[in-house]
Symmetry: C2
Subunit: 218 residues, 2 copies
DNA sequence: AGTTTGCGGAGCGAAACGCTCCGTTTACAA
DNA sequence: TTGTAAACGGAGCGTTTCGCTCCGCAAACT
């Protein structure tokens, strides 16, 4: 390292940055893109001034948030691919995805200007997921009428958890663990619905990829 | 009828009321309880003044909206009970529930003052759903580890459709039918996950009913 | 002691909010 | 034709909330 010594003030600044990002994730989960910088700073236990020293605008903070979240998605997909069992790999990705909660970020992603970095990460995540789905389908453990787009939409839908957000908003944090457990059960139901063989074929036409989260591609 | 004649102005007023409620449903689906009266009136093609002639406050409009939506829920559950086949009956209720979209209303229900009428309708809906679930379970078509609360939460989660709301918000109404189709597929997956016999038992403890949409009861 | 660096938050102009108020339009009786 | 009452749309009010700037202060280093 060129800079092994850490000035205490600099360490504090980095801790603040982490707190800001964590707080932003929480507030955005509840309020979506309407989340105010004041609320984010307050939740992080940090002054507004400090927020604006690190991010020139609210949009810059959101872009960073989306970028870091995409990292999590890529990790989840690649960890899924690392599993030897195709079904376990897919299930790992989906369960991780429900936790990451693309849904909450989806509304933010629709409001920010897309950077090259974000578009690139999005592409990498898509490739990994495609491989994951293709492998599960080839192994015959995923019902064959489910498309990758179906899965993306399912994750988007189940990742957003209005129940948990609402509880947090009402300050009933004591109930949050129970809510997380409840959501896990729901996702387990959905996972069971994905397994081959399927009791009935899915209705309608396979969904078009354009439906995914606003624009992303184009 | 005591008043068979309809003054044209009065008919217009009633049409405006219907348009207001329909618009409120749409705007609330996107913006939740933050939906502004101006947005609702504009979407209904009606002046703000007309809105406030019929509803003294925004809250009064929202209470009416919740009440009418609960009527839909009661209908869906009772129609489900009318089905001879227990599974078809349950599926009918769930599919209708996904369409009604309790999720969107959940955020509104948390902000309004509960009237006696609303609490009463909520009770009636609960009773009908309990009967529906009990019948399906007794017939052995519903996996036995799913509780009524699980189902309520599932409906709440899948009823809210961020994808459709976002498309509408962006004015891409051309894509909405495709999105509705996509959501139908997702719900079909979840339905298949509910059938008996289950591939694996559900994880965790059965969820407590207190988790449902804020307060409703108490 | 002086300098640098990061800090918190009061306060700015702009925007959005719920709601009131009023001039206009329409249907119908005189 | 004219008078009246009902329903209309929307400008504008006071208030709140927003993103963001700016500045006085404290801690670390020289």
């Amino acid at each position: 390292m060129t800079e092994p010594r850490r000035a205490p003030r600099q360490a504090e600044a980095e801790a603040n940055d982490r707190a800001l990002l964590a707080a932003a994730r929480e507030v955005v989960a509840v309020d979506g893109a309407r989340a105010s910088v004041a609320a984010i700073a307050a939740r992080a236990g940090v002054g507004i001034g400090s927020l604006y020293r690190r991010y020139r605008t609210k949009q810059e903070l959101f872009q960073r948030l989306v970028s870091l979240t995409l990292d999590r998605w890529i990790d989840a997909a690649e960890q899924g691919l690392a599993h030897a069992d195709p079904w376990e790999g897919l299930a790992h990705y989906l369960l991780a995805g429900f936790d990451i909660g693309q849904g909450s970020l989806g509304s933010v992603a629709g409001t920010i200007e897309l950077t090259e970095e974000i578009a690139d990460k999005n592409r990498r995540a898509d490739e990994a997921v495609d491989a994951l789905v293709a492998r599960a389908r080839a192994a015959g453990v995923l019902r064959p009428d489910v498309t990758t787009t179906d899965l993306h939409l399912l994750v988007e839908q189940l990742g957003k958890s209005p129940m948990i957000d609402q509880l947090r908003q009402q300050g009933r944090t004591d109930l949050v663990p129970a809510a997380v457990n409840a959501r896990t059960r729901i996702t387990a139901i959905a996972l069971d619905g994905l397994r081959a063989p399927a009791p009935h074929p899915l209705p309608g036409e396979p969904p078009a990829p354009e439906l995914l989260s606003g624009r992303w591609e184009t």
